[in-house]
Protein backbone atom coordinates (compact mmCIF):
# COMPACT_ATOMS: atom_id res chain seq x y z
CA UNK A 1 0.00 0.00 0.00
CA UNK A 2 1.39 3.39 -0.88
CA UNK A 3 -1.06 5.25 1.30
CA UNK A 4 -0.27 5.49 4.97
CA UNK A 5 -3.05 4.57 7.36
CA UNK A 6 -3.37 3.34 10.92
CA UNK A 7 -4.71 -0.12 11.67
CA UNK A 8 -6.84 -1.26 14.59
CA UNK A 9 -8.44 -4.60 15.38
CA UNK A 10 -11.12 -4.13 18.07
CA UNK A 11 -12.32 -7.22 19.90
CA UNK A 12 -15.70 -5.96 21.09
CA UNK A 13 -18.71 -4.32 19.45
CA UNK A 14 -18.51 -1.34 21.81
CA UNK A 15 -14.86 -0.73 20.93
CA UNK A 16 -15.62 -1.03 17.20
CA UNK A 17 -18.64 1.32 17.33
CA UNK A 18 -16.63 3.85 19.39
CA UNK A 19 -13.87 3.93 16.76
CA UNK A 20 -16.37 4.37 13.93
CA UNK A 21 -18.18 7.18 15.74
CA UNK A 22 -14.89 8.94 16.53
CA UNK A 23 -13.32 8.73 13.08
CA UNK A 24 -16.33 9.28 10.79
CA UNK A 25 -15.52 9.23 7.10
CA UNK A 26 -11.81 8.76 7.79
CA UNK A 27 -12.31 5.21 8.97
CA UNK A 28 -12.85 2.23 6.68
CA UNK A 29 -13.92 -1.22 7.76
CA UNK A 30 -11.72 -4.13 6.76
CA UNK A 31 -13.49 -7.48 6.59
CA UNK A 32 -12.18 -9.69 3.76
CA UNK A 33 -10.24 -6.77 2.30
CA UNK A 34 -10.64 -8.02 -1.26
CA UNK A 35 -12.38 -4.81 -2.34
CA UNK A 36 -10.96 -2.34 0.21
CA UNK A 37 -7.27 -3.09 -0.37
CA UNK A 38 -7.74 -2.82 -4.15
CA UNK A 39 -9.55 0.50 -3.70
CA UNK A 40 -6.85 1.86 -1.37
CA UNK A 41 -4.08 0.84 -3.74
CA UNK A 42 -5.79 2.49 -6.69
CA UNK A 43 -6.35 5.67 -4.64
CA UNK A 44 -10.13 5.38 -4.82
CA UNK A 45 -10.36 5.54 -1.04
CA UNK A 46 -7.80 7.13 1.31
CA UNK A 47 -8.65 6.12 4.87
CA UNK A 48 -6.72 7.43 7.86
CA UNK A 49 -7.79 4.40 9.87
CA UNK A 50 -8.50 0.84 8.76
CA UNK A 51 -10.55 -1.13 11.27
CA UNK A 52 -10.37 -4.91 11.04
CA UNK A 53 -13.66 -6.27 12.37
CA UNK A 54 -12.72 -9.95 12.13
CA UNK A 55 -11.46 -10.06 15.73
CA UNK A 56 -14.81 -8.98 17.20
CA UNK A 57 -16.32 -11.85 19.11
CA UNK A 58 -19.06 -13.82 17.27
CA UNK A 59 -18.62 -11.88 14.02
CA UNK A 60 -17.65 -15.03 12.11
CA UNK A 61 -20.98 -16.57 13.00
CA UNK A 62 -22.98 -18.43 10.38
CA UNK A 63 -25.99 -19.73 12.23
CA UNK A 64 -29.52 -20.92 11.63
CA UNK A 65 -32.59 -20.80 13.82
CA UNK A 66 -36.23 -21.60 13.19
CA UNK A 67 -37.29 -18.09 14.27
CA UNK A 68 -34.68 -15.97 12.50
CA UNK A 69 -33.62 -18.18 9.62
CA UNK A 70 -30.07 -18.06 8.30
CA UNK A 71 -27.84 -15.52 10.06
CA UNK A 72 -24.72 -14.45 8.21
CA UNK A 73 -22.15 -12.55 10.32
CA UNK A 74 -19.82 -9.73 9.26
CA UNK A 75 -16.75 -11.97 9.05
CA UNK A 76 -18.49 -14.95 7.42
CA UNK A 77 -16.55 -15.67 4.24
CA UNK A 78 -17.96 -16.60 0.87
CA UNK A 79 -16.36 -20.05 1.22
CA UNK A 80 -17.94 -20.46 4.69
CA UNK A 81 -21.35 -20.07 3.02
CA UNK A 82 -20.39 -22.19 0.03
CA UNK A 83 -19.41 -25.16 2.22
CA UNK A 84 -22.09 -24.83 4.91
CA UNK A 85 -24.37 -27.87 5.17
CA UNK A 86 -27.46 -25.81 6.10
CA UNK A 87 -26.95 -23.45 3.16
CA UNK A 88 -26.51 -26.34 0.75
CA UNK A 89 -29.62 -28.03 2.09
CA UNK A 90 -32.02 -25.11 2.50
CA UNK A 91 -30.59 -22.19 0.52
CA UNK A 92 -28.67 -23.85 -2.33
CA UNK A 93 -29.16 -20.69 -4.43
CA UNK A 94 -26.74 -18.90 -2.09
CA UNK A 95 -24.12 -21.60 -2.68
CA UNK A 96 -24.72 -21.12 -6.43
CA UNK A 97 -24.03 -17.40 -6.11
CA UNK A 98 -21.02 -17.93 -3.83
CA UNK A 99 -19.30 -20.33 -6.22
CA UNK A 100 -19.31 -17.73 -9.00
CA UNK A 101 -17.36 -15.16 -6.95
CA UNK A 102 -13.72 -14.66 -7.94
CA UNK A 103 -11.28 -17.48 -7.16
CA UNK A 104 -10.86 -19.94 -4.30
CA UNK A 105 -8.16 -17.84 -2.60
CA UNK A 106 -10.34 -14.73 -2.70
CA UNK A 107 -13.41 -16.65 -1.49
CA UNK A 108 -11.35 -17.74 1.53
CA UNK A 109 -11.11 -14.04 2.49
CA UNK A 110 -14.03 -12.19 0.87
CA UNK A 111 -17.09 -11.88 3.09
CA UNK A 112 -20.73 -12.18 2.06
CA UNK A 113 -21.62 -8.97 3.87
CA UNK A 114 -18.66 -7.20 2.25
CA UNK A 115 -19.97 -8.23 -1.16
CA UNK A 116 -23.31 -6.57 -0.27
CA UNK A 117 -21.94 -3.49 1.53
CA UNK A 118 -19.49 -2.72 -1.30
CA UNK A 119 -22.71 -2.38 -3.37
CA UNK A 120 -21.25 -3.10 -6.76
CA UNK A 121 -24.06 -3.35 -9.34
CA UNK A 122 -22.63 -6.77 -10.16
CA UNK A 123 -22.37 -8.14 -6.60
CA UNK A 124 -22.85 -11.86 -7.11
CA UNK A 125 -24.47 -12.54 -3.71
CA UNK A 126 -27.13 -9.88 -4.31
CA UNK A 127 -29.51 -11.51 -6.84
CA UNK A 128 -29.83 -14.64 -4.69
CA UNK A 129 -30.20 -12.80 -1.39
CA UNK A 130 -32.76 -10.44 -2.95
CA UNK A 131 -34.87 -13.33 -4.26
CA UNK A 132 -34.75 -15.02 -0.84
CA UNK A 133 -36.04 -11.91 0.94
CA UNK A 134 -32.86 -11.20 2.91
CA UNK A 135 -32.89 -8.50 5.56
CA UNK A 136 -29.98 -6.31 6.62
CA UNK A 137 -29.33 -5.82 10.34
CA UNK A 138 -27.57 -2.50 10.84
CA UNK A 139 -25.88 -1.44 14.07
CA UNK A 140 -23.96 1.51 15.50
CA UNK A 141 -23.36 3.25 18.81
CA UNK A 142 -26.76 4.88 18.28
CA UNK A 143 -28.65 1.59 18.15
CA UNK A 144 -29.91 -0.99 15.71
CA UNK A 145 -32.20 -0.98 12.69
CA UNK A 146 -33.34 -3.46 10.09
CA UNK A 147 -33.73 -2.78 6.36
CA UNK A 148 -34.96 -5.18 3.67
CA UNK A 149 -32.08 -5.85 1.29
CA UNK A 150 -34.18 -4.54 -1.62
CA UNK A 151 -34.14 -1.10 0.07
CA UNK A 152 -30.46 -1.23 1.09
CA UNK A 153 -28.81 -0.16 -2.16
CA UNK A 154 -29.13 3.48 -3.21
CA UNK A 155 -26.74 3.70 -6.18
CA UNK A 156 -23.46 2.46 -7.62
CA UNK A 157 -21.41 1.56 -4.52
CA UNK A 158 -23.89 3.50 -2.36
CA UNK A 159 -26.11 2.19 0.42
CA UNK A 160 -28.28 3.47 3.25
CA UNK A 161 -25.39 2.97 5.73
CA UNK A 162 -24.03 6.00 7.61
CA UNK A 163 -20.32 6.26 8.35
CA UNK A 164 -20.73 5.12 11.94
CA UNK A 165 -22.84 2.07 11.05
CA UNK A 166 -21.96 -1.49 10.17
CA UNK A 167 -23.98 -4.39 8.87
CA UNK A 168 -24.00 -6.72 11.83
CA UNK A 169 -25.85 -9.52 10.07
CA UNK A 170 -27.76 -10.47 6.97
CA UNK A 171 -30.67 -12.72 7.74
CA UNK A 172 -32.51 -14.95 5.30
CA UNK A 173 -36.00 -15.94 6.47
CA UNK A 174 -37.13 -19.53 6.90
CA UNK A 175 -40.12 -18.75 4.66
CA UNK A 176 -37.89 -18.84 1.59
CA UNK A 177 -35.86 -21.90 2.63
CA UNK A 178 -36.00 -24.63 0.00
CA UNK A 179 -37.19 -22.21 -2.68
CA UNK A 180 -36.56 -23.59 -6.11
CA UNK A 181 -34.19 -21.60 -8.27
CA UNK A 182 -30.63 -20.96 -9.27
CA UNK A 183 -28.18 -18.29 -10.41
CA UNK A 184 -26.59 -17.80 -13.82
CA UNK A 185 -23.60 -15.55 -14.28
CA UNK A 186 -22.32 -14.56 -17.69
CA UNK A 187 -18.54 -14.13 -17.80
CA UNK A 188 -15.98 -13.56 -20.54
CA UNK A 189 -13.96 -16.58 -19.43
CA UNK A 190 -14.72 -19.75 -17.52
CA UNK A 191 -12.49 -18.74 -14.63
CA UNK A 192 -12.33 -15.75 -12.33
CA UNK A 193 -14.22 -12.78 -13.88
CA UNK A 194 -16.76 -10.13 -12.98
CA UNK A 195 -20.32 -10.63 -14.22
CA UNK A 196 -21.48 -9.28 -17.58
CA UNK A 197 -24.91 -10.04 -16.17
CA UNK A 198 -26.09 -12.22 -13.29
CA UNK A 199 -29.64 -13.51 -12.96
CA UNK A 200 -31.37 -15.48 -10.22
CA UNK A 201 -34.94 -16.76 -10.46
CA UNK A 202 -36.81 -18.39 -7.58
CA UNK A 203 -40.21 -19.92 -7.05
CA UNK A 204 -41.43 -19.88 -3.45
CA UNK A 205 -44.97 -21.15 -2.72
CA UNK A 206 -46.17 -19.95 -6.11
CA UNK A 207 -44.42 -16.57 -5.98
CA UNK A 208 -41.78 -15.99 -8.63
CA UNK A 209 -38.94 -13.54 -7.97
CA UNK A 210 -36.18 -12.42 -10.29
CA UNK A 211 -32.90 -10.91 -9.03
CA UNK A 212 -30.63 -9.25 -11.57
CA UNK A 213 -27.09 -7.91 -11.25
CA UNK A 214 -24.97 -5.73 -13.59
CA UNK A 215 -28.09 -4.37 -15.26
CA UNK A 216 -28.73 -1.09 -13.38
CA UNK A 217 -26.96 1.15 -10.83
CA UNK A 218 -28.01 -1.30 -8.11
CA UNK A 219 -28.83 -5.01 -8.04
CA UNK A 220 -32.54 -5.39 -8.85
CA UNK A 221 -35.41 -7.42 -7.45
CA UNK A 222 -38.55 -8.02 -9.48
CA UNK A 223 -41.47 -9.22 -7.38
CA UNK A 224 -45.22 -9.68 -7.75
CA UNK A 225 -44.98 -12.50 -10.30
CA UNK A 226 -46.49 -15.94 -9.91
CA UNK A 227 -45.99 -19.45 -11.23
CA UNK A 228 -49.00 -18.85 -13.51
CA UNK A 229 -47.48 -15.86 -15.33
CA UNK A 230 -46.34 -16.74 -18.84
CA UNK A 231 -42.60 -16.50 -19.51
CA UNK A 232 -43.22 -13.51 -21.80
CA UNK A 233 -44.75 -11.59 -18.90
CA UNK A 234 -41.78 -12.33 -16.63
CA UNK A 235 -39.37 -11.30 -19.37
CA UNK A 236 -41.36 -8.10 -19.93
CA UNK A 237 -41.19 -7.27 -16.22
CA UNK A 238 -37.44 -7.81 -16.26
CA UNK A 239 -37.04 -5.69 -19.39
CA UNK A 240 -38.99 -2.85 -17.74
CA UNK A 241 -36.81 -2.95 -14.62
CA UNK A 242 -33.33 -3.04 -16.12
CA UNK A 243 -31.25 -0.05 -17.20
CA UNK A 244 -28.02 -1.60 -18.47
CA UNK A 245 -25.07 0.35 -19.83
CA UNK A 246 -22.31 -0.44 -22.31
CA UNK A 247 -18.88 -0.72 -20.72
CA UNK A 248 -15.52 -2.38 -21.27
CA UNK A 249 -17.00 -5.79 -20.58
CA UNK A 250 -19.88 -5.76 -23.07
CA UNK A 251 -22.60 -3.69 -24.74
CA UNK A 252 -25.96 -2.66 -23.34
CA UNK A 253 -27.69 -4.65 -26.08
CA UNK A 254 -25.80 -7.83 -25.22
CA UNK A 255 -26.77 -7.42 -21.57
CA UNK A 256 -30.44 -6.96 -22.48
CA UNK A 257 -30.37 -10.00 -24.73
CA UNK A 258 -28.63 -12.29 -22.25
CA UNK A 259 -30.83 -11.26 -19.34
CA UNK A 260 -33.83 -12.34 -21.38
CA UNK A 261 -32.13 -15.64 -22.27
CA UNK A 262 -31.24 -16.34 -18.63
CA UNK A 263 -34.70 -15.40 -17.31
CA UNK A 264 -36.33 -17.81 -19.76
CA UNK A 265 -33.90 -20.65 -18.99
CA UNK A 266 -34.11 -20.22 -15.24
CA UNK A 267 -37.93 -20.00 -15.34
CA UNK A 268 -38.07 -23.33 -17.13
CA UNK A 269 -35.93 -24.81 -14.36
CA UNK A 270 -38.21 -23.69 -11.54
CA UNK A 271 -41.41 -24.74 -13.27
Amino acid sequence: MNDVFKYRAPTSRAELFGMLAAHGEGAKILAGGTDLLVDIRSGLVRPELVINLKKVEDFSELAWSQSEGLIIGPATTVNDVLHDAKVRDSYPLLADCALTIASHQLRNRATVIGNIVHASPGADMAPGLLCLGARVQIASQRGQREVPLKDFFTGVKRTVLSHDEIVEAITVPTSTARSRGSYRKLKRIDGHDLALVGVAVTSTDGAVRVGIGSAAPTPLLIEGLTDEDPADAVVAAARDAIRPISDLRCSKEYREYMIEVFVRRLLEEVR
Binding site: A9, L30, V38, N52, K54, A102, H104, Q105, N108
Partner: protein
Protein backbone atom coordinates in the same frame (compact mmCIF):
# COMPACT_ATOMS: atom_id res chain seq x y z
CA UNK B 1 2.23 -2.32 15.41
CA UNK B 2 4.05 -4.98 17.41
CA UNK B 3 3.07 -8.44 16.27
CA UNK B 4 3.86 -12.09 16.53
CA UNK B 5 3.47 -14.40 13.56
CA UNK B 6 4.60 -17.93 12.82
CA UNK B 7 6.03 -18.27 9.32
CA UNK B 8 7.23 -21.64 8.08
CA UNK B 9 7.60 -22.87 11.66
CA UNK B 10 9.59 -19.87 12.92
CA UNK B 11 8.01 -17.37 15.27
CA UNK B 12 8.77 -13.77 14.38
CA UNK B 13 8.03 -11.03 16.90
CA UNK B 14 8.56 -7.58 15.52
CA UNK B 15 7.22 -4.16 14.67
CA UNK B 16 5.20 -4.26 11.46
CA UNK B 17 4.34 -1.30 9.24
CA UNK B 18 0.57 -1.02 9.58
CA UNK B 19 -0.18 -0.20 5.96
CA UNK B 20 2.01 -2.98 4.52
CA UNK B 21 0.49 -6.07 2.99
CA UNK B 22 1.43 -9.54 4.16
CA UNK B 23 3.15 -9.95 0.78
CA UNK B 24 5.41 -6.96 1.32
CA UNK B 25 6.13 -8.06 4.90
CA UNK B 26 7.15 -11.55 3.74
CA UNK B 27 9.33 -10.29 0.89
CA UNK B 28 10.88 -7.16 2.38
CA UNK B 29 10.94 -7.72 6.14
CA UNK B 30 11.46 -11.47 6.29
CA UNK B 31 13.26 -11.62 2.92
CA UNK B 32 11.20 -14.62 1.87
CA UNK B 33 11.16 -13.71 -1.82
CA UNK B 34 9.87 -17.04 -3.12
CA UNK B 35 6.36 -15.58 -2.94
CA UNK B 36 5.93 -13.38 -6.00
CA UNK B 37 4.15 -10.06 -6.56
CA UNK B 38 2.27 -10.14 -9.85
CA UNK B 39 -0.80 -7.89 -10.02
CA UNK B 40 -1.13 -6.66 -6.42
CA UNK B 41 -4.89 -6.85 -6.90
CA UNK B 42 -5.92 -10.43 -6.17
CA UNK B 43 -6.17 -11.37 -9.83
CA UNK B 44 -3.07 -13.43 -10.61
CA UNK B 45 -2.43 -15.66 -7.60
CA UNK B 46 1.38 -15.38 -7.80
CA UNK B 47 1.43 -14.35 -4.11
CA UNK B 48 -0.67 -17.27 -2.85
CA UNK B 49 0.37 -18.42 0.63
CA UNK B 50 -1.32 -20.45 3.37
CA UNK B 51 -2.75 -18.33 6.20
CA UNK B 52 -3.94 -20.41 9.15
CA UNK B 53 -4.00 -23.39 6.81
CA UNK B 54 -6.05 -21.80 4.00
CA UNK B 55 -4.80 -20.42 0.67
CA UNK B 56 -5.03 -16.63 0.38
CA UNK B 57 -3.59 -13.91 -1.82
CA UNK B 58 -0.87 -12.33 0.33
CA UNK B 59 -1.41 -9.03 -1.52
CA UNK B 60 -5.00 -8.95 -0.24
CA UNK B 61 -4.11 -9.31 3.44
CA UNK B 62 -2.53 -6.68 5.66
CA UNK B 63 0.56 -7.88 7.49
CA UNK B 64 -1.03 -6.70 10.74
CA UNK B 65 -3.94 -9.08 10.14
CA UNK B 66 -1.51 -11.98 10.47
CA UNK B 67 -0.88 -11.11 14.13
CA UNK B 68 -1.13 -14.43 15.98
CA UNK B 69 -1.51 -16.37 12.74
CA UNK B 70 0.39 -19.19 11.07
CA UNK B 71 1.73 -18.60 7.57
CA UNK B 72 3.29 -21.09 5.17
CA UNK B 73 5.06 -20.02 2.01
CA UNK B 74 6.77 -21.79 -0.87
CA UNK B 75 9.97 -21.77 1.20
CA UNK B 76 8.40 -24.42 3.46
CA UNK B 77 7.78 -26.85 0.60
CA UNK B 78 11.25 -28.33 0.11
CA UNK B 79 12.79 -29.83 3.25
CA UNK B 80 16.59 -30.05 3.50
CA UNK B 81 16.91 -29.46 -0.23
CA UNK B 82 14.48 -32.26 -1.05
CA UNK B 83 11.55 -31.15 -3.25
CA UNK B 84 8.05 -31.71 -1.88
CA UNK B 85 5.84 -34.19 -3.71
CA UNK B 86 4.02 -31.36 -5.45
CA UNK B 87 7.24 -29.66 -6.51
CA UNK B 88 8.69 -32.96 -7.76
CA UNK B 89 5.53 -33.60 -9.79
CA UNK B 90 5.79 -30.11 -11.31
CA UNK B 91 9.40 -30.85 -12.30
CA UNK B 92 8.59 -34.32 -13.69
CA UNK B 93 5.75 -32.96 -15.83
CA UNK B 94 7.56 -29.86 -17.14
CA UNK B 95 4.96 -27.73 -15.32
CA UNK B 96 7.41 -24.83 -14.94
CA UNK B 97 8.24 -22.46 -17.77
CA UNK B 98 9.32 -18.98 -16.69
CA UNK B 99 8.52 -19.96 -13.10
CA UNK B 100 6.89 -16.73 -11.99
CA UNK B 101 3.52 -18.32 -11.27
CA UNK B 102 4.99 -21.53 -9.86
CA UNK B 103 5.20 -20.61 -6.17
CA UNK B 104 1.56 -19.55 -6.15
CA UNK B 105 0.50 -22.53 -8.27
CA UNK B 106 2.17 -24.95 -5.85
CA UNK B 107 0.36 -23.30 -2.93
CA UNK B 108 -2.99 -23.52 -4.72
CA UNK B 109 -2.36 -27.17 -5.59
CA UNK B 110 -1.54 -27.85 -1.93
CA UNK B 111 -4.88 -26.23 -0.99
CA UNK B 112 -6.73 -28.21 -3.67
CA UNK B 113 -5.27 -31.52 -2.52
CA UNK B 114 -6.01 -30.65 1.11
CA UNK B 115 -9.70 -30.38 0.21
CA UNK B 116 -9.82 -33.05 -2.49
CA UNK B 117 -7.17 -35.77 -2.71
CA UNK B 118 -8.26 -37.02 -6.16
CA UNK B 119 -9.48 -34.00 -8.14
CA UNK B 120 -10.87 -34.42 -11.66
CA UNK B 121 -9.49 -32.29 -14.48
CA UNK B 122 -12.50 -29.95 -14.08
CA UNK B 123 -11.85 -29.69 -10.34
CA UNK B 124 -8.16 -28.99 -10.95
CA UNK B 125 -9.06 -26.18 -13.37
CA UNK B 126 -11.42 -24.75 -10.75
CA UNK B 127 -8.77 -25.13 -8.04
CA UNK B 128 -6.19 -23.12 -9.98
CA UNK B 129 -8.59 -20.59 -11.52
CA UNK B 130 -7.12 -17.92 -9.25
CA UNK B 131 -3.60 -18.47 -10.60
CA UNK B 132 -2.58 -17.07 -13.95
CA UNK B 133 0.26 -18.61 -15.96
CA UNK B 134 1.22 -16.13 -18.65
CA UNK B 135 3.33 -18.79 -20.38
CA UNK B 136 -0.06 -20.57 -20.66
CA UNK B 137 1.53 -23.79 -19.46
CA UNK B 138 -1.67 -24.95 -17.80
CA UNK B 139 -1.75 -28.37 -19.44
CA UNK B 140 1.49 -29.50 -17.82
CA UNK B 141 0.36 -28.11 -14.47
CA UNK B 142 -2.87 -30.08 -14.71
CA UNK B 143 -0.85 -33.19 -15.55
CA UNK B 144 1.42 -32.56 -12.56
CA UNK B 145 -1.63 -32.50 -10.29
CA UNK B 146 -3.00 -35.69 -11.84
CA UNK B 147 0.45 -37.23 -11.34
CA UNK B 148 0.91 -36.23 -7.71
CA UNK B 149 -2.62 -37.42 -6.89
CA UNK B 150 -1.85 -40.83 -8.42
CA UNK B 151 -4.17 -40.49 -11.40
CA UNK B 152 -1.65 -40.65 -14.22
CA UNK B 153 1.25 -42.95 -15.02
CA UNK B 154 4.50 -42.27 -16.79
CA UNK B 155 3.35 -43.75 -20.09
CA UNK B 156 0.55 -41.24 -20.62
CA UNK B 157 2.42 -38.15 -19.51
CA UNK B 158 3.12 -35.23 -21.81
CA UNK B 159 0.14 -35.32 -24.20
CA UNK B 160 -2.73 -32.93 -24.71
CA UNK B 161 -5.44 -35.49 -24.08
CA UNK B 162 -6.64 -33.95 -20.82
CA UNK B 163 -7.63 -30.59 -22.26
Amino acid sequence: MWMSVEVNGHIYEREVTEHWTLLRFLREDLELTGTKDGCSAGECGACTVMLNGEAVNACMVLAAEADGATVETIEAEAVDGELSEIQAAFARNYAVQCGYCTAGMVMSVRELLRLNSKPTVAEIKEGIEGNLCRCTGYQQIIEAVLDVSGQINNGTRGGLKYV
